[in-house]
């Protein structure tokens, strides 16, 4: 069962630190694949901390891990990185800037593995 | 006088856009075929000849017809003053930008900045237009300053931004920020509009024929039947652009944007 959310992205201290370890480093990948979600939304989607969810937009999809966050219901947060890039379309509406924050995404629990 | 027919031969699979600014009636009407073929076109960092990309029929005419898939071809009719260009396909960016007169017909879609900063003439797009049709290039004080853009399909973001004068009519939908920061002029949209329509407008009119989310900085002043809307609709029909009958229709008038001088208006058809 998929549910619609608005996904925002941004820097985190940990992302900023671990990037120096290289983008292959586990710590870095862990940080940029962690999806913050409001506990109520997690309950509605029937996912727990650490569960995998699939994010989907018109442009692509990513599988990331859920964690409880302070975001308000309906909003998701994930640190900048390759997982969110896969969801972003190239259209910039003539500004040069793709829609990198505030992306409308479908979220569903991923049970594939 | 006949017409000049330019048939696009393609770019050999290259994805690099072709810049074809010399293709204007003003220039071509002075040239014989051999001269037309030798006009410079710009393909990436190379300067090539018009004849490399187009086969040319006809000469010395201010009527130009373009054939072939031109969606990767930019700058057609930029700054044109007189004559007529008929494009039988979709066209790339900047078609008719800064044009001051004459007429361009596009039988297909147009790329971004169609008619940007134009000051006169008619740009008629049978398909859809991209972002910023009739708008300003970045930094310019004004977008379109005169003339008419008719779009039978839809338009992208910021259509009519910074508009100072002129008319844009869209039969389909528009994305966000239609008429952004416009200073004067008119935009008619028969389909739906996106968010923040008229944001930052100082004066001018945006006439919407479908309900929309009006910005909080607009205030409803009244509901009435503005005569000028009727005048415009009749004028459009007389030019062969079909528009719905709205006999007896009323419009809600919202004034704004109060974040600026607030003398603009959004008129929303109430049926």
């Amino acid at each position: 069962m998929a549910k619609s959310f608005i996904l925002i992205t941004g820097r985190t201290t940990k992302q900023g630190r671990t990037i120096h370890l290289g983008k292959q480093a586990k710590d870095y990948i862990d940080e940029v694949s962690a999806l913050e979600m409001n506990p109520a939304d997690m309950e509605a989607l029937q996912v727990k901390e650490g569960d995998r969810v699939r994010l989907r937009t018109d442009h692509g999809s990513s599988v990331v891990r859920c964690k409880k966050g302070t975001v308000p219901p309906g909003l998701l947060f994930i640190a900048y990185g390759q997982f969110v890039n896969a969801l972003v379309g190239p259209d910039t509406q003539g500004t040069g800037m793709p829609n990198t924050k505030g992306i409308e995404v479908e979220v569903e629990k991923d049970d594939s593995g | 006088m006949g017409e000049i027919i330019l048939t696009f031969k393609g770019m050999g699979g290259s994805t690099v856009p072709l810049e074809a600014d010399p293709i204007t009636p003003d220039l071509l009407q002075l040239k014989v075929r051999a001269e037309i073929e030798r006009l410079p076109l710009y393909h990436g960092n190379e300067q090539l000849l018009l004849g490399d990309f187009f086969s040319v029929k006809g000469e010395r005419s201010n009527q130009i017809r373009l054939r072939g898939d031109l969606s990767q071809v930019k700058n057609i009719g930029v700054g044109m003053q007189t004559g007529r260009i008929v494009i039988e396909s979709s066209i790339g960016m900047h078609v008719g930008a800064r044009m001051t007169g004459g007429e361009i017909q596009v039988h297909g879609n147009a790329g971004d900045w169609a008619g940007a900063e134009m000051t006169g003439g008619l740009l008629w797009i049978n398909g859809s237009a991209g972002n910023r049709a009739g708008s300003a290039y970045r930094g310019s004080k004004y977008g379109m300053r005169g003339g008419v853009i008719l779009i039978e399909g839809s338009g992208g973001h910021e259509v009519g931004g910074y508009m100072r004068r002129g008319l844009i009519v869209v039969r389909g939908n528009l994305e966000d920020h239609a008429g952004a920061r416009m200073v004067a002029g008119s935009i008619f949209v028969f389909g739906r509009v996106g968010g923040r329509t008229g944001g930052g407008m100082k004066r001018g009119s945006i006439v919407c024929f479908n309900p929309l989310d009006v910005l909080p900085t607009f205030r409803l002043t009244s509901t009435y039947a503005p005569l000028f809307v009727t005048i415009y609709l009749r004028a459009l029909r007389s030019r062969g652009f079909s528009v719905p009958e709205i006999g007896g229709g009323r419009f809600a008038r919202y004034c704004g944007d109060l974040a600026e001088s607030g003398k603009g208006e959004i008129l929303v058809w109430q049926g």
Partner: protein
Amino acid sequence: MELNGVPIEDTYAEAFSAIGARLLITAENERWAREAAASFTGFATSVIGSGCEAGVEGVASETPDGRPGVTVLIFAMSKKGLHEQLIKRIGQSVMTCPSTACYNALAGESWVSVGGKLRFFGDGFQSSKLLDGVFNPPVGRARRFWRIPVMDGEFVVEDRFGMVKGVAGGNFLLLGEEPQAVLQAAELAVGAMRQVPGVILPFPGGVVRSGSKVGSQYKFLTASTNTAYCPTIRRQVESVLPDEVRAVLEIVIDGLTPDGVAEAMRVGIRAACRPGIKGISAGNYGGKLGKYHFRLHEVLRS
């Protein structure tokens, strides 16, 4: 020359050139368009005393806003004079009239700003719309409409009005026995003449009884009653009236073109030549007044 047994004097109507404009007044219905037009053309009979001559030209078949409308012609002696009259009369008689709008209906030789002056009534809340020339194919001239907020909505008035050099003072005289019969003939003439486009008959009901001559015995008066045509003082002055004539009425015609004036005279005279009319003449000032001479015989022959 005779028409239906009525002798047509071999003389000419002497007319002068004047600057004219054509307005199109629309409204919710024809009644209110006519109300505005009536008020606009009120007290506009003679350039001498009214500053302009105006009249309703007819009902418009096509209007920019699709509403019923009437066209009005107005003539004055100078562009400046016409400009002032347009502003005053549109401001006082059209803007004030419920539901109306006022458009230019003439491709002018020159242009004056009218809406552009009246707009200040909007106290800063006026706005304008410029309809591009591509919607006006043969001429290609853009039209600007001012929108002035008023108590029933918006008064729309065109910015610029075209002016042309027209003809004022085209005329003919109906000479008859009985005043009633002459008036009846005049009414018939007016009815016919009002079908002619491009002309107006500025006097009340299209008819004037106080024909005038140039000069008077009083220094302060430049024109006075046309003594030669006044039956009641026939023996006191040098009269031109045959004895049986006891009433004379004049029909004055202003038009955008000399041809229009001639056409109006022709249909008017033809309609008027009926029993009881003893002669048709014209106001002829010996060529001193104006450059247009409409010879009655020529007008009727063409």
